[in-house]
């Protein structure tokens, strides 16, 4: 109760002040980036790696501070970011399709209109891998087996309602096949089960299998063009299967950010993709970069929401 009251009061005061005071000197105090995961997680490392570069491109002695608000797969943090004052001093990290899927499969105190979309920075495409023990070492063999015995192939992946799950649903719809989902808690346990041959097939992300290419059959990458992360892996489109999907991480601000602040931030983010030092730092921490700015990011989010909503209406996963 107190909280809501206080927040409205602050938000109101901020809105009044925003137009006049913030225009010139932004940023004049540290910018806080709320990360919905613990320190050391993939999203946290992305935020911390990007922070000095954002400072550099914002100029004027800007300082970016990462604040971890872990819990509920990032939902607690993103809710806090959505409800913060839209003054440009509180930003948040944003994960797709997870953050949108949570508004569908669970009660969430935000929706797709709660944010000012700044930039998506990471796009980690899905890959389909099979266990060496399964003998299904090409996409054709996999699909043949899946058609012959619907449901016989077990698919290890991280939890339902995530990017892996949507990739599988796209695969099933595109090929008219049926698989048995085995949702592990996270990708690393799923990958381990694949390495041990306990499940036949897995849907993971390219950064998660890059180090394990010798121990697994990687059948293809769900991108339009080959990923720079593993250029020798063919895409699914090359193999005649229209499957593009991935896990995305970016930055958002609360809705209602003043235009000049938004412009300034988007400007800074858009320079990231041209910075070789930044690209190297991201590659070293398993974050394939694909920068999508502003309205395009918003459109991307909206599309993913519609996809998730459609899936939920036909086959709810919980």
């Amino acid at each position: 109760m107190h909280n809501i009251f206080k927040k409205t009061a602050i938000a109101g005061a901020m809105c009044l002040a925003a137009g006049a005071a913030l225009a010139q000197g932004y940023p004049e105090k540290p910018i806080e980036v709320i990360v919905g995961y613990s320190a050391g997680g993939g999203t946290d490392v992305m935020a911390r790696t990007a922070a000095p570069f954002i400072e550099k491109y914002l100029g004027e002695g800007a300082s970016v501070v990462v604040k971890n608000v872990p819990g509920a797969s990032g939902q607690i943090g993103v809710t806090e970011a959505a409800n913060a004052a839209p003054d440009g001093y509180t930003l948040g990290t944003f994960n797709l399709p997870g953050m949108m899927a949570r508004t569908i499969d669970r009660k969430a105190d935000y929706d797709r209109d709660s944010f000012t979309y700044l930039a998506n920075v990471v796009n980690d495409p899905n890959v389909i891998v099979t266990s060496k023990k399964s003998g299904l070492d090409t996409l054709d063999k996999l699909l043949e087996e899946a058609k012959a015995n619907p449901g016989a192939i077990t698919v290890g992946m991280s939890s339902l309602g995530g990017d892996d799950h949507f990739a599988l649903i796209k695969l099933q719809n595109a090929t008219g096949t049926e698989f048995t989902i085995v949702p592990f808690k996270g990708s690393a346990p799923a990958r381990t089960a694949l390495l041990g041959g306990h499940v036949a097939m897995g849907i993971l992300n390219i950064s998660e299998v890059a180090e394990f290419q010798d121990q697994l059959n990687v059948l293809g990458v769900a991108t339009k063009e080959r990923s720079q992360f593993a250029p020798d892996l063919p895409t699914f489109q090359e193999q005649g299967l229209d499957l593009v999907n991935g896990s995305m991480r970016g930055f958002i601000a609360p809705a209602g950010l003043p235009d000049d602040v938004r412009q300034k931030l988007m400007n800074a983010f858009s320079q990231l993709s041209g910075d070789q030092e930044f690209l190297d730092a991201m590659a070293a921490t398993a974050n394939p970069v694909e920068v999508v700015i502003g309205d395009d990011f918003k459109q991307l989010t909206s599309d993913l929401y519609d996809l998730a909503k459609g899936v939920w209406e036909t086959t709810p996963w919980n």
Binding site: H2, N3, K6, I10
Partner: protein, 153 residues
């Protein structure tokens, strides 16, 4: 001499067993909304708690019937309740008026109420504890403690 009906029901174990049964039964209600496989383990555990607590209740009542007096949970209930309330108050104070203020008040207050009353000792202890926490967590590790919801940031 058998105990009166009222004191038979207020034996600590009897009360606890009744409490567990009521709470476990309460938790059983939401299991009906879950899918069967999802509800299985929690429901089994809750039913287990109810059955076991009933056994506990029966055993305790049998002892009561035999006239075995119940061992009291504490010799000084006032002190126990007071201590617990103080700890809760400390948590609430941290939440609403901030960590450092509450801590600086709570340490001497608790120690004083429960019998350690040397002013110098209290002062030194408070300064050392609060100072060390500040130096390590705030200064060293830039951990933010609650600053108090009432005071804003």
């Amino acid at each position: 001499m058998p105990e009166s009906r009222k004191s038979r029901l207020t034996r600590p174990e009897t009360l606890t067993a009744l409490g567990i049964i009521v709470v476990a039964a309460g938790f059983l209600v939401p299991t009906s909304d879950l899918r069967a496989i999802s509800a299985l383990l929690p429901a089994v555990m809750l039913i287990g708690l109810i059955v076991l607590s009933s056994l506990l209740l029966l055993a305790d009542q049998r002892r009561a019937g035999e006239g075995v007096p119940a061992t009291p949970m504490t010799q000084s209930p006032k002190r126990v309740i007071g201590a617990f309330l103080l700890i809760v108050a400390y948590a609430l104070a941290t939440d609403f008026i901030g960590f450092y203020v509450s801590t600086a008040v709570t340490i001497p207050l608790v120690a004083w109420i429960f019998g350690y009353r040397s002013p110098l000792g209290l002062l030194i202890a408070t300064v050392i504890v609060v100072g060390t926490i500040w130096a390590i967590f705030d200064f060293g590790m830039s951990q933010d403690f609650p600053t108090g919801r009432l005071l804003g940031r």
